[in-house]
C-alpha cells in the first residue's frame, strides 16, 4: 500500500505540535492580570480558611474565637495584651492582637479565621448543591424534555410533595398517610405499566393514569420560572425563620434557591449538543444514554456552568454574610464574617476596625471570585477570545 505510506508521511508532517485544551485556556487566562490576581486571592483564601478551621476547632484551640477577656475590650489592631490582667492561658498566640479585639475582648483575628471557614464551606457546599440540582434538572429538561409526562407522574409527584410539606410542618401522622398513599400510587402505576406493556392488559378504569399532560421540559422550565419569581433573599429569610438556625440549614437553603441559572445553562447546552453529529454518531454506535450524557454532553456543557459556579460562590458568601448580619445566620457563639461585621457596627466610630476588617475581607474575596469567574469565562469560551 504505497499510497497509504505516502499519505501517512504527508499527513504527519502537516500536524502542529501537541497543544492540550488546558494549556491553551491557561495561556489566555494567564494574560488576564485581574483574573490571575483573583485566582491568587482565591488560593490564599482557601488556605487561610482551611488553616482557620484547624486552628480554631477542638477543645483547646490555638486561636480561640470565643475567649472573652473583659479587661481587653476594643483594642486596636497590633496592640499587645496587658500582662497583669490577662491570665497566661488567655494570652493571644502571637503576643499581640493582630486585628484588635471586640467589645467582649475576643480576638478578632481568631474570629475572622473561624469565619473564613464558614464562608468557604457555605460558598462551596451551597454552590455544590445548586449545581447538582441544576445539572440533573437541566439534563432532564434538555435530553428527555420532549417526553410528555403522564397523569400518574404528576399525581405521584403531587402526593409526595404534600407529604414532604406535612412532614416539614410537623404533621407527622398526615405526612405518613400521604407518603403511604404516594407509594401505593407509584406501585400501582408501575405495576399497571408493566402489565400494560408486557402483557397487553388494558383496564379502562386506569386509563386516565396514562393521560398525557405537558412535556417534561415545560414542567421543569415553568418551575424554574416560578422559583425565579421569588425574591431569593426574602425566601431564604422565611425558610430560615422556620428551620433551626445552623450552618448546614443555611448552606442547604442557599443551594436550594440558586439552582435555576445552572438549570437554564445546562438545558440550553444540552439542546444544542443533542443535535450535534457526534451525539448522533454515538447513538448509531449503540452507546447508552447514560454514557452519552456523561461522556459526550456534560464535558461539553460544563464550561459555562463552571463560570457561573465561581460567581455563584461569591454570591453565596455574600448571602451568608447578609443573613448573619441580620442575625438570621449561624447562631452567635460561632463567628462568621457577617456577624463580626454586625457586632462591630455599634462601635463604628470608636472601633472602626471591627467593621472594616470583615467588610474589606468580604469585598476582597467576593471580588476575587468574580474576577476569577470572568477570566475563566474568557479562557473557556473561544468566541470571547481576543485575536
Amino acid at each position: 500500500m504505497s499510497v497509504k505510506d505516502r499519505d501517512i508521511k504527508e499527513l504527519s508532517e502537516g500536524l502542529a505540535g501537541e497543544v492540550s485544551r488546558f494549556s491553551e485556556a491557561w495561556g489566555i487566562f494567564s494574560k488576564n492580570k485581574l483574573a490571575l490576581s483573583g485566582l491568587a486571592i482565591f488560593i490564599a483564601f482557601f488556605m487561610i480558611a482551611v488553616s482557620g478551621f484547624f486552628l480554631t476547632a477542638g477543645e483547646e484551640p490555638l486561636l480561640d474565637p470565643a475567649k472573652v477577656r473583659l479587661s481587653e475590650k476594643l483594642l486596636r489592631p497590633f496592640t499587645s495584651f496587658d500582662v497583669e490582667m490577662v491570665r497566661p492561658e488567655d494570652r493571644p498566640v502571637f503576643g499581640i492582637y493582630l486585628f484588635g479585639t471586640d467589645d467582649l475582648g475576643r480576638d478578632i483575628f481568631a474570629r475572622m479565621m473561624q469565619g473564613a471557614w464558614v464562608s468557604l464551606t457555605v460558598g462551596f457546599v451551597a454552590v455544590g448543591i445548586s449545581i447538582a440540582i441544576g445539572i440533573i434538572m437541566g439534563g432532564i429538561a434538555g435530553y428527555y424534555g420532549m417526553y410528555r409526562m403522564k397523569f400518574m407522574h404528576l399525581l405521584c409527584m403531587f402526593i409526595f410533595l404534600a407529604s414532604g410539606i406535612m412532614y416539614a410542618s410537623a404533621e407527622n401522622g398526615g405526612a405518613f398517610i400521604m407518603f403511604m398513599a404516594g407509594t401505593v400510587c407509584l406501585l400501582l402505576s408501575v405495576g399497571y405499566y408493566f402489565f400494560y406493556t408486557r402483557r397487553g392488559a388494558d383496564i379502562p378504569v386506569f386509563r386516565f393514569m396514562f393521560f398525557e399532560t405537558i412535556t417534561a421540559d415545560s414542567f421543569i422550565m415553568r418551575f424554574v420560572d416560578i422559583m425565579l419569581c421569588f425574591p431569593t433573599f426574602f425566601l431564604i429569610l422565611t425558610v430560615i425563620a422556620l428551620l433551626p438556625a445552623n450552618i448546614y440549614n443555611i448552606m442547604i437553603v442557599i443551594g436550594l434557591t440558586s439552582w435555576m441559572g445552572t438549570t437554564r445553562f445546562i438545558r440550553a447546552e444540552f439542546l444544542s449538543l443533542r443535535e450535534q453529529d457526534f451525539v448522533a454518531a454515538a447513538r448509531v454506535m449503540g452507546i447508552s444514554d447514560f454514557s452519552i450524557i456523561f461522556r459526550h454532553m456534560i464535558p461539553n456543557a460544563i464550561a459555562p456552568v463552571l463560570v457561573s459556579a465561581t460567581i455563584g460562590i461569591a454570591g453565596a458568601i455574600l448571602t451568608e454574610a447578609g443573613l448573619s448580619f441580620l442575625g438570621f445566620g449561624v447562631p452567635p457563639p460561632h463567628a462568621t464574617w457577617g456577624n463580626v461585621l454586625s457586632d462591630g457596627k455599634r462601635f463604628i466610630f470608636d472601633a472602626p476596625w471591627l467593621t472594616f476588617i470583615p467588610g474589606i475581607s468580604i469585598l476582597v474575596v467576593v471580588l476575587s471570585f468574580n474576577l476569577f469567574g470572568e477570566g475563566l469565562r474568557e479562557a473557556l469560551n473561544p468566541k470571547l477570545r481576543k485575536r
Binding site: 499519505d7 500536524l15 501537541e18 448522533a280 454518531a281 454515538a282 448509531v284 461522556r295 459526550h296 464535558p299
Partner: protein, 334 residues
Amino acid sequence: MIGPDKILEVKNLKKYFPVTKGIFSKVVNNVKAVDDISFYIREGETLGLVGESGCGKTTASRVILALDKPTSGNVYFGGRDIFSLRGEELKKLRQEMQIIFQDPYSSLNPRMSVGNIIAEGIGAHGIARGAQKREMVEALLEKVGLSGSYYGRYPHEFSGGQRQRIAIARALSLKPRLIVCDEPVSALDVSIQAQILNLLSELKRDFNLSYLFITHDLSVVEHVSDRIATMYLGEIAEVAPTDEFYSNPLHPYTVALLSSSMSPDPGRRKKAVILKGDVPSPLSPPPGCRFHTRCPVAIDICSVKWPGPKELANGHMVRCHLVDQDNPQSPVKV
C-alpha cells in the same frame, strides 16, 4: 462484488414532522420530509442518493439508522425489521450499520482523544479491551491513512480531511456491513475529496462494505455508485444503474439535474434544462406529481394523478406519467 442479497430494504417509508399549535399541541399540519420512499441496497453495492437541499435525503438516512422514529413504513436490514427491535437486539444491529457525517468539525467530540473516540464503540460492544483495544484502534488509524501515534491527540489538532479519516475509522471500528455516507466529502477541498473517495472505495473492497452514499454532487456520485436514486420533495423520482442513469435519464427532474452539472469534456456539454420557480414547501406538496409545478413538459394529468412507480428493464424505476413502459424515452429532449 455485488451479491444478490438485499442488505437493506426500505419499504414505503414516511417521516412527517408535525407542526403543532396552542398549549394542547394540536397538530395543524405536517412537514412531509420523507413521503413514501422505497428502495433497496444489495450486499457490496453503493447506492447514490442525489437531490437538492431539503429534499429529505438526510432525514431518510436518520430514519434508516433508527435515530428517528418513522411515521410509517418499514426498513429491513438483513431481513430483520429494524423498527421492531428493542434493547439488546437493537444494539447488536447498530454494530452493522454506521454513518459518516458531512461536517467533520461537529462529528467528533472535541473533549475526547482520537483514540477514545474510535475505541468507544469497541468498548461498548465488548469487542476488545485493554491493550488489544488499543492495538485495534491503532490498526484502524493506519487503515484510514493516519499514524497510530495519533491515539492521544485531540480532534482540534487535525485538518478537515484528517478529521474525516478519523470519522471513517470510527465508523469502521464496529466492523459494519453498511455505511451511510451523508455527504462525506462536500465539506472538503477538491483535492482532499479525491483522497477520501479513494479511501472509501478501497475500504469497500477490503471489508466488503455496502454504502448508501448521499450527496448533491453529481460528479462524485458517478465516481462511486453502482446505482443512483434521485430524490425530489421527499419522494424518489428515479432509480437506475449508474451507466443507465447517465446515458438514458428518464425523469424530467433527473434530466434537469444532469444538464446543470458541469462536464470537463466540451463534447458532452449540452443545452441546460433550466427549471423555473422554487421547490414547493413540503408543508403542502402539490397534488398529483410532486414535480409538475416545475416540469417543462407537464400535461394535465400530472397535476391530478400521482404517478406510481414504473418498473422498467434492468432495475430502472421512474415515477412519471410521460415515460412509456415499453419504450422508455425521456419526455424532455435535450
